[in-house]
């Protein structure tokens, strides 16, 4: 199931960084944005779309007061994307509203970018567009190039942003070689993401997700390439960062089971 989740979404960026001490000095929209991010990350770690929806509500409530705050919009879009991804991936989930979730996510992220461009917003837009193309290939004609543009813009804004490289790696992993993807570029991008995460000093309320995910996706690249021991080591590093994460446990178990 987890593999399916990744395959469809290419973005299950479960909170990885050890949560830094909450910045008690934050106030107003920033304080709410910080709270929203932590709530969303905690919910994502449960791989339960209903919990993600509940966490998203934090950002949405704050937007009632701090309308058009770029970080709140970013976290709303992030949560919507994750919720949509989980509903598509988890068998038996209600998927009737997925199109609406994705459209709303894109709308929130576009509004966020209009107020303040961030690499993360562009990365998430690229992910949303990728999923929309997957759901309706006829849209590849218009959305495909735009998805590339969003990634490129994210790189322009944050050439050393680990979440940008994480998304590049995930996209490459799920893209056929003839379309510019494949395991080799995916490994390269994810290794760079891991390196950047090591150096990153997260500053609340800015985005800080993705550290453990980078290891998990790197493990998947190794696993698909038949390099089991490297995959195991990567999964164990991910679990070292988030010992309770059920997805990472599942990945390790699937490796042990020889899947």
């Amino acid at each position: 199931m987890r593999r399916m989740l990744i395959g469809i979404a290419g973005l299950s960026l479960i909170a990885a960084a050890p949560a830094p001490a909450r910045a008690q000095t934050l106030d107003g929209a920033a304080r709410w944005a910080d709270s929203a991010q932590h709530a969303i990350e905690a919910a994502i770690a449960t791989v339960n779309p209903d919990r993600v929806a509940s966490a998203r509500a934090v950002a949405e409530r704050a937007l009632a007061v701090y309308a058009e705050d770029p970080l709140l919009l970013l976290y709303r879009g992030y949560a919507l994307l994750e919720e949509a991804t989980m509903r598509m991936a988890i068998r038996g989930s209600d998927t009737s509203g997925v199109s609406g979730l994705l459209e709303t996510a894109l709308d929130a992220l576009e509004r966020s970018v209009r107020r303040r461009e961030t690499p993360e917003a562009h990365v998430l837009m690229s992910a949303v567009l990728g999923i929309q193309i997957g759901r309706d290939p006829s849209r590849g004609m218009t959305l495909g190039p735009r998805s590339s543009v969003e990634i490129d813009r994210a790189l322009d804004l944050g050439p050393e942003n680990p979440r940008v490289w994480l998304q590049r790696g995930v996209s490459a992993m799920n893209t056929p070689a003839q379309w510019g993807g494949g395991l080799e570029p995916a490994e390269r991008y994810l290794l760079h993401a891991v390196e950047l995460f090591e150096r990153e000093q997260a500053v609340p309320p800015n985005p800080m997700w993705g550290r453990a995910d980078a290891q998990a996706f790197l493990g998947q690249v190794y696993q698909r390439g038949g390099r089991g021991e490297l995959a195991r080591a990567a999964y164990q590093r991910a679990l070292g960062l988030e010992p309770a994460n059920p997805w990472y446990r599942g990945l390790l178990a699937s490796l042990d089971a020889g899947h």
Binding site: R31, W32, D34, S35, H38, A39, A42, A43, N48, D50, R51, A53, S54, A55, A57, V58, E60, R61, A62, A64, V65, E68, T95, S96, G97, V98, S99, G100, L101, E103, T104, E110, R111, R114, R115, Q132, I133, G134, D136, P137, S138, R139, G140, M141, T142, G144, P145, R146, S148, V149, E150, D152, R153, Q178, W179, G180
Partner: protein, 721 residues
């Protein structure tokens, strides 16, 4: 699912002390709604509703407070309360799932899964088999449209093509077709890839839309580009290129140029017609958009189009060429903004058309100019009520000059004819108001009215309109009733050949429907309708204007859409029985658009996100026509004079056609997508007939085959960013 998911990790820790805020949220049908975000505006404390619609949270806040309920797919509800609550709250959300009886197509964008509308992406328009990448032809595959000929004309529920109004960015399009003809034209005037939203209504539409007896097609052009992009398309009949540039400070521009010619198309496939000048055209369109703030936008769109055509026409009295040369200009500037519960939409449009048509004794030169402005204000004072009001002004200066034969059976050059030449100015002013109310429980009501006044008819009209939707279980039942008026074409008021005393045409619609499912999955809709016409203005065979026509159209439309396993299928069926006063006989007869059965079945399959195959099958009953019963020779004029039989007493043979199209997407270089497309129209080479003609003495009836035999079409289109 989780019954009640209390807020986790909020900035303000919730306390066990204080009072409880609890209640239930339900939709219009009274069913509980889960996942609704209910919270206090003052503290942002809140909770999501569970599967049973219940919510509960605690707050230390006292006194007046605002409770907000929000969920994607529903309108927001705000309720002022006093804390602590005396009793649990009951909140009703207005669902977007209940819509008025319209079919809505969204190009270039998917609608939410809960939205009860039919959706088409731009590429689906382009790849609709047999649609030739034309928006109108793609819309013809929906129910409620009659297949009158092979053109792009939108004949809606037994109505004439002129009874459907076409708008772009809220402005009425003066010349919506290319190579215009009495049945519309060969193609629509707008490129599918330049349009991002299409809304088509086949009847029962609201008070916002006026001067249309049968249908409304409203399109929105693309907005500000998000990224620099370019594109080029080369096909058998056209070459086009486009550029989109985002500019700083919220500005952005788009430009598209197209050169079309059917020369290669006919060279490859042949034609049943003899062209003296194959259809050719050139377009240049562009837009500029400015987002001056997140909710505010100014958009300017302009189009220049030029089309020429020459085709040999055989008539009993004359064989010659019909020559047409037309140029259209269209520009519209729109302003959209929203401030809290108030929204503003305004537009100003200008358009011009020049057209010359020659055929034997007939010659027409048209110089039509139009200016229009409209303003629309929306106000949502409460979650259950939305109010809209607005007004519009449209001024036209329509110049007509030329000559027409005195006798319709004698169209030879030099035949006795009458000349005319004048400019007809006309101004239409209108105002409308509409209220959309979500009643507690399962009912939604929309009531509105509009008034129009035209200086051509010197008549003011008042059109009341009502619509209702009732949700029962998984079904939504809809109903609409309304009065519709339309000012006849300015050409009908031409003082020499027209009638300056014409009044507005009138129709009354009654529509009943039921629908279930979701358009991005399986969807089913059936609608029954009844239209009554009066005061129709029509032209007889001699192009004289005949006033006072009456008539009716009644029928049923069925639409089924199934999606699954990579397949998408849709089936549209329309039944219509329509009659109206025959302008030559002066008696009620079948309408020329009385195509009893129209059936379209489409199936699409996508493989590996790259290959796409679409197959379409079309069937339509024959079109009524008035036969010639006999003819006598007029030796003085040296021409045969036909005597006609009972009006509209015969039909052309039924129409059937199978079309196949395929496309392949490929990325030849990064940040680009290329699509190669090929189609086969009329795959079985069926000899469809849309009308008949006669030999010189009317002793032989000759069916006029459709323009295309089996025909192949292909091209390649690349977009890069």
């Amino acid at each position: 699912m989780v019954a009640v998911l209390l807020l986790a990790g909020t900035a303000r820790a919730q306390t066990d002390s204080g009072s409880a805020v609890r209640g239930t949220v339900h939709d219009a049908a009274g069913a509980p709604v889960d996942g609704v975000n209910v919270f206090l505006l003052e503290t942002l404390e809140g909770a999501l509703t569970g599967a049973d619609g219940h919510f509960a949270f605690r707050t230390a806040h006292r006194g007046p407070a605002t409770v907000i309920a929000r969920r994607i797919g529903f309108g927001e509800v705000r309720r002022t309360v006093t804390l602590p609550l005396a009793a649990p709250l009951e909140l009703a959300l207005a669902s977007a799932a209940i819509v008025l009886p319209v079919i809505t197509a969204q190009a270039g964008r998917y609608t939410g899964g809960a939205e009860a509308s039919a959706t088409l992406s731009a590429l689906e328009v382009v790849t609709t088999p047999g649609a030739a990448a034309d928006i109108y032809r793609a819309i013809q595959t929906f129910p409620g449209l009659q297949q009158v000929d092979e053109g792009a004309g939108l004949f809606v529920r037994g109505g004439d093509v002129a009874e459907t109004k076409i708008l772009v960015n809220d402005a009425v399009v003066l010349s919506p077709y290319r190579s215009e003809s009495p049945t519309g034209g060969t193609f629509g005037a707008f490129d599918a890839f330049q349009v991002e939203g299409i809304s088509f209504s086949s009847g029962g539409f609201g008070a916002r839309y006026g001067d249309a007896l049968s249908g409304v097609l409203a399109m929105q052009t693309l907005g500000r580009p998000r990224a620099r992009s370019g594109g080029a398309t080369v096909s058998l009949a056209a070459v086009s290129a486009n550029v989109a540039l985002p500019l700083p400070d919220g500005f952005g521009v788009r430009v598209t140029g197209t050169r079309s010619s059917t020369r290669l198309l006919f060279a490859l496939n042949g034609s049943t017609r003899d062209f003296t000048h194959v259809p050719e055209g050139r377009d240049l369109s562009g837009s500029a958009t400015w987002h001056y703030r997140p909710n505010g936008e100014v958009r300017i769109y302009g189009l220049h189009q030029h089309n020429t055509l020459g085709v040999t026409v055989d008539q009993p009295s004359f064989t010659g060429s019909f020559e047409s040369d037309e140029a259209h200009d269209f520009a519209v500037a729109t302003l959209r903004d929203a401030l809290g519960p108030v929204s503003l939409n305004g537009s100003f449009g200008a358009a011009g058309t020049t057209r010359t048509q020659d055929l034997g004794a007939f010659r027409l030169a048209v110089d039509d100019r139009q200016r229009q402005a409209n303003l629309r204000l929306g106000w949502t004072p409460a979650g259950r009520l939305a109010l809209t009001a607005g007004g519009e002004v449209e001024h036209r200066e329509s110049g007509f000059s030329g000559r027409k034969a005195l006798d319709p059976f004698d169209q030879r050059p030099g035949a006795p004819s009458i000349t005319f030449g004048s400019t007809t100015p006309g101004t239409r002013t209108a105002a409308f108001a509409e209220a959309d109310w979500q009643a507690p429980g399962r009912l939604r009501l929309t009531a509105g009215a509009r008034t129009d006044h035209s200086t051509l008819t010197h008549v003011s009209t008042v059109d009341p309109r009502l619509a209702a939707a009732l949700a029962v279980g998984g079904f939504t039942f809809t109903a609409a009733w309304g009065v519709y008026h339309q000012v006849p074409s300015p050409a009908f008021f031409e003082p020499t050949v027209g009638d300056t005393t014409l009044g507005p045409e009138r129709a009354r619609h009654v529509v009943l429907g039921a629908q279930t499912g979701s358009p991005d999955r399986s969807f089913f809709r059936i609608e029954l309708y009844d239209k009554r016409y009066r005061d129709l203005a029509q032209q007889d065979r001699a192009r004289n204007v005949v006033a006072g026509g009456t008539g009716f159209a009644r029928g049923a439309d069925l639409f089924v859409k199934l999606v699954g396993n990579g397949w998408g299928t849709r089936l549209a069926y329309s039944y219509v029985d329509t009659r109206r006063t025959d302008p030559d006989a002066g008696a009620l007869a079948r309408s020329p658009f009385d195509v009893t059965h129209t059936l379209t079945a489409l199936a699409e399959k996508t493989w590996r996100n790259r290959w796409r195959l679409s197959v379409g099958a079309h069937y339509a009953s024959g079109r009524p026509f008035t036969p010639v019963a006999s003819a006598s020779y007029d030796s003085a004029q040296t021409v045969w004079v036909p005597a006609y039989g009972a009006p509209m007493s015969e039909r052309t043979p039924a129409f059937a056609r199978m079309d196949v199209s395929a496309s392949w997407l490929h990325q030849f270089w990064p940040r680009s997508v290329t699509i190669v497309f090929v189609s086969v129209n009329n795959a079985f080479d069926r000899a469809n007939v849309f009308s008949v003609r006669y030999n010189a003495d009317y002793t032989e009836r000759i069916p006029l085959r459709s323009q295309f035999n089996r025909s192949f079409y292909f091209g390649v289109s690349t977009t890069w960013m």
